[in-house]
Amino acid sequence: MNPKILIMVPAFNEADSIGALIKEIRVSVPQADLVVINDGSQDNTGEEARKTGAFVATLPHNLGIGGAVQTGYQIAFDEDYDVVVQIDGDGQHDPAYTAPLLRPVLEGKLDLCIGSRFLEEDTETFRSTRARRFGIRFFCRLLGLLTGLRLTDPTSGFRATGKKLIKSFADYYPVDFPEPEAVKIAKRLGARVGEIPVRMRERQAGHSSIRYLATLYYMAKVTLAILIDTLKKNP
């Protein structure tokens, strides 16, 4: 039997880019179902997504990326999906890499496959800010120290998650910059985590959730959250 694949697209005020993104996803992975998590957008994100025939789950108010992604996992759990792929609604994640991202999970090699923009030393690779690159390196080291994982891009939201983690992420998913903490949780739950190289694009519209001023809060919050996770017991 073919595995049930759900592509979730968390989106907040992405009316300008969401339609084109959905069309691209449909071309890349026609066999997958698609749900747009409209995270309390104040523009026409929901309507624009619906025009393309996509299913839209609208949150009545903005929960932030963590709450939106958790909603996607809850839907995946409710509907008994085998794999969930997160593709951010801002168009930064190139849907052309969805199939390679899915492969290790579908083959049973990984439970969480992260699309890394730093695995390939390519000049075309998306360039992030210096502060952000420093943050990414810091979390690579921290996660490496605590879990033994050798990652290059733990902050990437472009990821495929297998059935082993769907229920756990539906029950609890970190809020505010959740990606590195989600990796730590996955390791605590005994999941196999790995990366594949992807290219990321410049944001097509909207605003990034991480700005310069937020970097400090981001570093402190995520570090603390990861350290506290080491004190948690497995369910």
Binding site: V35, I37, N38, G40, F55, V56, A57, T58, L59, P60, H61, L63, G67, Q70, T71, Q74, I75, D78, V175
Partner: protein
């Protein structure tokens, strides 16, 4: 005015205000309990100030007024902590409700989609 009278007026005002808020259903008994208990404790210690001196001395405070400030600080810290927990609870409840609405929205639209497909 005698400090004792001043303390009693303030404390009785707080007590009456809290009771009135409960009566008008602006505050539930659960959250009023800490205010009621502390108001009654202050009234008790104001009327029985020899007891206040004894307890303050036993706790190692040279001046009873310092002991009162200390108690006040403890009360404020403890109550702030309780309120933080409460805000967090409300926050996660609001989040769960929002997610439940989004999940229902998804299901409803999926069912509507299936229905319109069947009609065709």
């Amino acid at each position: 005015m005698h400090p004792k009278t001043f303390a009693l007026i303030i404390t009785f005002s707080v007590l009456i205000l809290v009771i009135d808020l409960i009566r008008r259903q602006k505050m539930t008994f659960k959250y009023a309990l800490a205010w009621l208990a502390s108001s009654i404790a202050v009234i008790f210690f104001t009327l029985q100030d020899t007891w206040l001196r004894t307890v303050a001395q036993w706790a190692g405070f040279a001046l009873p007024s310092n002991f009162i400030f200390f108690l006040l600080l403890i009360f404020v810290i403890f109550f702030s902590l309780l309120l933080t927990i409460h805000i967090n609870e409300q926050n996660s409840r609001a989040e769960s409700l929002a997610q439940a609405i989004a999940r229902l929205d998804y299901r409803l639209r999926k069912m509507e989609g299936k229905e319109s497909d069947e009609k065709r």
